[in-house]
């Protein structure tokens, strides 16, 4: 990620950034959570707001440097402290990404459950050769990420802010096609399980348990 560190001088950086009305409303809610003098704690949520607003406005969810300066000013902290946070967390994109940011988890559980196939399917469907690339139509950017915390439903693919789980090659391709058509399915398991409930229905607590006899009954 070395090249990201100097984003300040890259041509794609916008000169300015301003929060829109929707973000402003959110900011007000967020800042109320922190006592005065401690607003700097809100740096993470505010950077997320930036990324989401950029996605709304430009179709690409990323954090421009101008926006980091705006956050610094709003939270009364030195800009470098915001740069540090924004560059530390890989969840913040420091350069434009495709409209749909494909973040494949390749950590051990997902890998054991076939994340390689998910990666291959993403590459194939989006026409991308490797991680970090964006498809020619600007729709998809592929990234490799570490554990997304949904290992029970491995393998997992995060698209923008939503997780799609229990994937295999076909379902990954179908998923991307749905996104391309502009019909993103609801996030969660792609095989219809609810949350992390066992595949194919409940496996425990399946029979009624006889209630114990009431105390004192013969």
């Amino acid at each position: 990620m070395n090249e990201d560190v100097r984003t300040g001088f890259e041509a794609f950086q916008p000169e300015t950034f301003a929060f829109d009305e929707q973000s402003e409303a959110e900011i007000e809610k967020i800042l109320r959570k922190y006592p005065p003098g401690r607003q700097a704690s809100a740096v993470l949520p505010l950077l997320y707001l930036v990324q989401n607003q950029m996605a709304r406005q430009t179709g690409s969810g990323w954090v421009p440097r101008a926006a980091m300066d705006v956050v610094a000013k709003r939270l009364e902290m030195p800009p470098i402290r915001v740069y540090e946070v924004a560059t530390f967390y890989t969840m913040f994109q420091l350069r434009p990404v495709g409209r749909f940011h494909l973040q494949v988890c390749t950590t051990t559980p997902c890998w054991l459950r076939g994340s390689d196939k998910v990666v291959a399917a993403c590459k194939q469907e989006a026409g991308i050769r490797g991680f970090g690339e964006t498809s020619a139509d600007g729709l998809f950017t592929l990234s490799e990420v570490e554990c997304l915390g949904a290992c029970v439903n491995a393998p997992v693919l995060q698209i923008n802010n939503d997780l799609y789980e229990d994937l295999d090659a076909e379902r990954t391709i179908a998923l991307l096609q749905a996104f391309r058509r502009g019909e993103p399915p609801p996030p969660g398991s792609t095989i219809g399980r609810i949350g992390s409930a066992p595949e194919g229905g409940p496996m425990t607590l399946i029979s009624e348990i006889e209630p114990p006899p009431a105390p004192g009954a013969e």
């Binding site: 560190v5 440097r65 560059t87």
Partner: protein, 685 residues
């Protein structure tokens, strides 16, 4: 106090010390990269490992507090193995470029590698490379060498008060950077070069100039502001190549301002290296004899009362005394050192000194700044104010032009009328001062140089008296000088004598001949057209441009000289290299000229001149003594405290990087000025 056993010796250490500090007290040297005793503890390099009994693993001693009865081993096999391991990790990504690294020879990493390094690498993978950063014209970065000790980040944040450095990315991608590729906006930025334990941050102007072991090191005193920072001048042959700070706890600790460190390339430029005499309206090269004769011809014909002398900002006390004696021999009382027209009252020393002393700032508990911008006028002293402010409970208020001083300041307004209100007990900050136990005020040169400067001085003293700044055991009245020569000049009475003229009266043909001893900062254009001007100094600056005769003198690195800093501390600078060409040490020039006039000054060597200096004012014999002062006599300086006008304050230093003939001749300082300007639009947004 806890007792700790270190390698078998029992030492008693203050509670709250770290194990590393305890080891130092026991005389054990602990290797370190990230720890620095003036910075917060980071504990990230792991080089300071020691073994603590009952601890299964080695501990990082810099971040480990002592406990009573602790038993520590600093050189056990476990310790050595641990340090070797830490060092091996540090070297994994460190390039093997010592032969082309400017830190070579004075690099902590090199030194520790001698002690704990392996002679080969077991690392077979790719080393990482990091793009270099732009920190401005002073600091060169080779960031692949950085070992992430974060000293520079902590210095910028804590000491300099400009949080512009940070660590971006993480893990293998961590980089120390300012992210936005702009010059660091600190007057103290050069200190991160000294702090960086490796060659990641080195001096840009000094890049590839010399190896540390080729340099001759001369301990001296800085003269580019009035703090009197202790410096070491590193030279090779006839050239000064580097200036670095020397430790003096009571003056500069171990810091140095960027101008004092980097203006040295100005010492090689625009130098006056031979005498010049004006013939037919044009300056022509001349011999010393010709120059002296030209002056003697002119002065010989004049009445003493029509001759004047002005001492400049960088002059040493010895040459000022010699010039004073020369003027007395010529029958002149027209002496002045107040180039800005400051209204001093030199009848008592504490009317013009920084009485609290620089180290004393740390004991103060309230501060009022009057017409001063200490950050520009004395950056190292400003760092001391910030240090005190960081310790908490230190209200600072200021009357003057608002500026970012690196600590919180309550700006009371830019008008002397605020001072009048304070005096009239009509301003709430008076209560804060009165409530404080050791309050202080600092009066700047900008305030004293005003038309109502005398009133300002009297009013500030009056306020000091009223608010309890003056006590038998505490002296809270401070004048912050900007010129290194000024206090020395006042101490030896380089002021108009009986019936003598001030600088102002000497201008506009108030005298027929004017001897300028390195004086360049007063309005030269006001020298009358008929005045014969002798400029004695080292740079072809403003004064020399108006001269009829130029006598080439020595810069501060080229002479043994005595300087008195703003606290009244007498210190001695030393000759590191000889003056260029025909230039000579200044007192010798004056002595030689007096012989031409037929009345040689009564000293043939530095010792006898210094004896005269001490006879003039005994403080010149008390080198580096600066006791904490109290104030027993509350009567104030002359001047009418009521006569304050309401003209706003203006700092005498508009540009920190160009204040004197040396820094004005320095290309590096010019670059700084430019780079700072390039920063401006962003700083203003």
């Amino acid at each position: 106090m806890p007792k700790v056993t270190i390698d078998g010796t029992v030492v008693e250490v203050p509670a709250g010390s770290s194990v590393l500090q305890a080891c130092e007290l026991a005389g054990k040297e602990i290797p370190r990269f990230c720890y620095h005793d003036r910075l917060s503890v980071a504990g990230n390099c792991r080089m300071c490992l020691v073994e603590v009994e009952k601890n299964p693993k080695p501990v990082a001693s810099c971040a480990f507090p002592v406990a009573d009865g602790m038993v520590v081993w600093t050189d056990s096999p476990m310790v050595r193995r641990g340090r070797r391991g830490a060092l091996e990790f540090l070297l994994i990504n460190h390039p093997l470029d010592c032969p082309i690294c400017d830190q070579g020879g004075e690099c902590d990493l090199q030194d520790e590698s001698m002690a704990y390094g392996l002679d080969r690498s077991r690392f077979r993978e790719q080393k990482r490379a990091v793009r270099d950063k732009y920190f401005g014209p002073l600091i060169k970065t080779v960031m692949t060498r950085c070992i992430h000790c974060t000293r520079c980040i902590r210095f910028a944040q804590e000491i300099a008060g400009v949080p512009e450095l940070g660590a971006t990315g993480r893990g293998e991608n961590m980089e120390v950077t300012n992210y936005i590729e702009r010059m660091l906006t600190s007057e103290l930025s050069g200190n991160i070069i000294d702090l960086c334990p490796v060659g990641a941050l080195t001096s840009k102007p000094y890049a590839f100039v010399a190896r540390s072991w080729e340099l001759v090191k001369t301990d001296s005193i800085d003269v580019l502001d009035a703090v009197g920072c202790n410096i070491r001048i590193d030279s090779r042959g006839p050239e000064v190549l580097r200036i670095v700070p020397r430790l003096h706890e009571d003056v500069n600790e171990e810091w140095l301002g960027d101008k004092s460190r980097f203006a040295l390339d100005g010492l090689r430029r625009r130098r006056l290296d031979r005498p010049w005499v004006k013939r037919g309206g044009k300056l022509e090269e001349a011999s010393w004899q010709e120059a002296f004769t030209a002056i003697a011809d002119r002065l010989g014909r004049l009445n003493g009362a029509r001759i004047g002398a002005v001492a400049g900002d960088l002059a040493d006390a010895e040459s000022m005394l010699a010039l004073k004696h020369l003027m007395q021999q010529l029958g002149s009382n027209n002496l002045d050192c107040r180039q800005l027209g400051e209204k001093f009252d030199a009848s008592r020393r504490d009317f013009y000194l920084f009485n609290t002393t620089i180290a004393g700032i740390e004991d103060a508990d309230a501060l009022l700044l009057i017409g001063t911008n200490p950050r520009r006028e004395a950056p190292v002293l400003n760092a001391r104010i910030r240090k005190r402010w960081l310790a908490g409970n230190f209200p600072v208020a200021a009357i003057g032009e608002p500026a970012e001083l690196t600590y919180a300041v309550e700006w009371l307004g830019n008008s002397p009328q605020v001072l009048a209100q304070l005096l009239a007990e009509a301003h709430p900050f008076l209560k804060r001062l009165q409530a404080a136990e050791r309050p202080m005020l600092i009066l700047g040169q900008g305030a004293l140089a005003r038309a109502d400067g005398a009133a300002m001085l009297a009013a500030a003293w009056e306020l000091a008296r009223k608010a309890g700044l003056l006590r038998p055991e505490w002296h809270g009245f401070n004048v912050l000088h900007a010129a290194a020569a000024r206090v020395g000049a006042l101490d030896l009475g380089f002021l108009p004598g009986e019936g003598g003229k001030s600088l102002d009266a000497m201008l506009d043909d108030g005298v027929d001949a004017l001897w300028l001893l390195g004086a360049d900062e007063f309005p030269i254009e006001r020298i009358g057209p008929r005045t014969f001007v002798i400029y004695q100094g080292h740079h072809g600056d403003r004064g020399a441009s108006r001269a009829d005769v130029i006598l080439p003198g020595a810069a501060y690195t080229e002479k043994h000289g005595t300087y008195v800093n703003t606290e009244g501390r007498v210190q001695r600078g030393a000759l590191a290299v000889y003056p260029p060409g025909d230039a000579r040490e200044d007192w010798k020039i004056l002595r030689a000229f007096s012989a031409v006039m037929g009345k040689p000054l009564p000293y043939d060597d530095l010792e006898s001149l210094r004896a005269k200096l001490e006879a003039e004012n005994p403080i010149f014999g008390r080198i580096d003594e600066c006791p904490r002062r109290g104030c027993a006599d509350l009567s104030g300086p002359k001047g009418d405290a009521q006569a304050l006008t309401d003209a706003p304050f203006v700092s005498p230093i508009s540009d920190y990087y160009r204040t004197d003939p040396i820094s004005r001749a320095s290309p590096t300082m010019a670059l700084c000025q430019e780079a700072l300007r390039a920063n401006m639009p962003i700083a203003a947004e």
